[in-house]
């Protein structure tokens, strides 16, 4: 889709200003109902578009994403503009600098039209923990879009923007992509700079694209990846043009299905059916699909929910009301911390901060955090073993389709189980993509089903190539 729009801009069939105005019109028409955006920056977007049009008129070459409207999750810094993480704790906070991804995209002339809703500080799987608004699934507005990148996903799925940026710590790009029927890519940990992404869990957070097609995901990844001196954990590997690897061919690729893991209880019948059809389609396209063992994969979820809250409790310590954000005065400094955090942080954030504080506290560290990091080694080893035999691992993205609002908010554990297949990739650090594999009926409504492919560390090439070939055929 991006390539086609790029050609139209280049050939003068459409101007960037008209394109941006068109998408802003869709936002005006639909977003009252869908609630994907927390803020829309019409003026700045049109100004960027005008500059791009001038450049085209003067006969200059333009970049692939230049002049094309996109949205970013509201946990990425845009200099001088509000960034809330959908939390009351950051209401009114203005980012002092651009996130590296935003800086790169600005330099390319990509047109940021707004910031999108999310679970508060990216903690959630339904976008319901946002302190500001509900975001609705465009396929059935009584259902959640998934999360935490629910706003970015809906913005793309409903045609409010051409593509969007999300962040993924345990499935926050892939799970909503699956729920809304689009493509979501979580790159290898370190592939994309996290500088200027407000941290949730630093050892797992990764920025990635939400797009209509796999090719679009490859285009966006090419634009945002690469080493960044400002993020010491960013990988020292040069940015590549990932579209070059999209051959439309997957003949001979070896795909492993962790059968025991996929067949575990709790996967909807409709999802299993679509999944088995997808397996057959991969076979039909020349892939060699075989069953594999990932014995420790089932422990990825408990490991995740120890490691993430631990890192969360540390990352959230900065919200003390002294240097930025909401500040509630107390009798003394310490009392102010208690009151500020009670007022600024939502229920799920508090829950994770407390869980992490407990897991890291004296006497429990070995039993929880250290144990979890050891099991994480075993999960990584599982993948190392699997990748001796296969190139990619295939699972459903989620065990269920998009669920109705409020159906899991009372039971945090139930909400966490929505991440069962996606967290594995974050625990192992591998790249993973969710792509549509059909629909499944739930209560009479056809809802999208996502398939997930996981690749080898830093092998986004094969991941994108195979997902693209599946999508094209």
């Amino acid at each position: 889709m991006i390539k086609k729009i790029h050609e139209q801009l280049k050939n003068g069939e459409v101007t960037s200003v008209d394109l941006v105005k068109g998408y802003l019109g869709v936002i005006k028409e639909k977003d009252q109902l869908l609630g994907a955006f927390l803020s829309v920056r019409e003026e700045q977007a049109l100004r960027t578009a005008e500059l791009v049009d001038e450049k085209i008129t003067q006969g200059h070459e333009i970049e692939m994403l230049e002049g094309i409207p996109f949205a970013a999750k509201d946990n990425m810094n845009v200099a001088g503009e509000e960034v809330t993480c959908a939390s009351k704790a950051l209401e009114g906070y203005k980012a002092p600098y651009d996130a590296t991804v935003i800086a790169r995209l600005k330099e390319m002339g990509a047109v940021l039209v707004g910031k999108t809703n999310m679970d508060e500080f990216a903690m959630g799987a339904s976008t319901e923990t946002s302190a500001y608004k509900k975001t609705k699934n465009p396929h059935d507005t009584s259902r959640v879009p998934g999360g935490s990148s629910g706003g970015s996903t809906v913005a793309v799925a409903s045609g409010e923007v051409v593509w969007a940026l999300g962040s993924d710590t345990g499935g926050s790009i892939r799970q909503p992509a699956g729920f809304c029927g689009i493509v979501g890519l979580k790159p290898t940990y370190g592939r994309v700079s996290r500088y200027g992404l407000i941290a949730m869990a630093s050892s797992c957070d990764q920025i990635g694209p939400l797009t209509n097609t796999v090719e679009d995901a490859a285009i966006v990844l090419s634009a945002i990846s690469g080493e960044d001196k400002m993020d010491a954990t960013s990988a020292q590997s040069p940015a590549k043009d990932y579209t070059k690897f999209l051959t439309g061919e997957m003949s001979g690729v070896r795909i492993g299905v962790p059968r025991a893991f996929v067949d575990a209880e709790g996967v909807d019948a409709g999802i299993r059916e679509r999944f088995e059809q997808a397996v057959e389609k991969f076979r039909g396209l020349g892939a060699r699909v075989e069953d594999i063992e990932l014995p420790y994969a089932k422990y990825a979820l408990p490991v995740y929910y120890i490691i993430i809250p631990s890192e969360v409790s540390s990352n959230m310590a900065r919200f003390d009301g002294i240097r930025f954000g909401l500040s509630v005065s107390g009798e003394n400094v310490t009392d102010g911390y208690f009151k500020t955090r009670a007022a600024g942080l939502g229920a799920e954030v508090k829950r994770r901060v407390m869980l992490g504080t407990y897991a890291l506290s004296a006497g429990y560290y070995d039993a929880y955090y250290k144990k979890a990091q050891k099991v994480r080694s075993l999960i990584r080893r599982d993948f190392e073993e699997a990748y001796k035999k296969v190139d990619l691992v295939l699972t459903p993205t989620s065990p269920e389709v998009a669920f109705p609002f409020g159906s899991k908010t009372e039971d945090p554990l139930k909400m966490y189980l929505s991440d069962i297949f996606t967290v594995t990739a974050n625990m192992a650090g591998v790249p993973a993509i969710s792509f549509p594999i059909g629909t499944s009926k739930d209560n009479g409504v056809d809802l999208p089903v996502g398939g997930q492919l996981m690749g080898k560390w830093f092998d986004e090439e094969n991941l994108l190539r195979v997902a693209d070939a599946y999508e094209r055929n």
Binding site: P96, Y189, S203, S329, V333, F338, L345, P412
Partner: protein, 95 residues
Amino acid sequence: MLTKEEVEHIAELARIELTQEETTKYQKDLSSILAYFEQLQEIDTNNVEPIGHITGMTNMYREDREEEFGDLGRKEIMENVPDTKDNFIRVKAVL
């Protein structure tokens, strides 16, 4: 089940003021999540090293040189501070 006192102690460490209602809720929530973690105890992790960095990166160093930032970012950062005096951050007396 975590006791009320245990939840209050955790909240104290986390610097979060809880209402009675929240304390009761977190008692239940945290206990059920901690019970879910129990399954990890069945795994033998003797002789397993904990993960440090997931793709195996070690010790990244920045260049060892001095940088002069001057007033770069000062205005933008200070504008976000809730309480200031003479361009300093003001806090209540600590001692």
